[in-house]
Symmetry: C2
Amino acid sequence: MARPGSEHPTELELEILKILWDESPLPVRDVRARLEAQAARPLAHSSVITTLNIMFNKGFVKRKKDGKSFLFSPKLQKKAVTGGIVGDLLSRVFDGSSSALVMNLIETADLDSEELAALRKLIARKAKEQQQ
Amino acid sequence: MARPGSEHPTELELEILKILWDESPLPVRDVRARLEAQAARPLAHSSVITTLNIMFNKGFVKRKKDGKSFLFSPKLQKKAVTGGIVGDLLSRVFDGSSSALVMNLIETADLDSEELAALRKLIARKAKEQQQ
DNA sequence: ACAAATCATCTAATTATTTAGATGATGTTA
DNA sequence: TAACATCATCTAAATAATTAGATGATTTGT
């Protein structure tokens, strides 16, 4: 009875990817420091490097030897990852309906008038592209 | 060294919640049948009821005794669950920026002109509400 | 040169999540 | 009534995810 893994990054993995999206390449030491400082996750050095190596084996990050340490970088773009998570949410909960999710977000999110205006523009642009 | 659980439903739990959102209350027998038919997850009866009871303990579902079986219903609304997952994604990846995620979705989603028109209306309504 | 710091590797442990068979109780059908 | 079907409970096991200390190697600082 196998427990299936997930195709998406786990919560800790997502935290680490975010750190690397913000700045990379980074050595483990720095990833560990930022996990503690930015994500309130104080982990031992070996906990962090273990997770990073698992992520490397999963194809989420690249690593490059630098002296005796490794520098890690994200291999997946932010959009690809969020697209995957959200796409999954779509197919599971919204029967694949993107617009239902987008509407749900717009209804629940706290958007100010500038953000709404920007969205309006984007939608107008999308609609225009569709007519061509 | 505890391994933290997640505050969100796991992938299987989300599949089960979807089934219950579509129709509830449901007995375990029916949940199991739909997992197999709709989610291509053929699990043993006891696997399903174990997961449902874990979900009950987590506060995700309600259950009511009916004869010798239990009927399960969702306790959380779809919006609350997706809002939680997406809110988490926001805070981890988009620094809390709802509009960035919504824009990301609009750009990547395959929306037809009717859907775009509906979004435009919703945004207009939101903008109007904000002026009051 | 020696001590301390840094680093990866190895090994181990905990917990969550998943999966399921055996068992006993209950209900239904022949 | 007996056999069968259905159901929850109990027990067990596999795997993923997480966490971390011990160890040896390398680098840095005194």
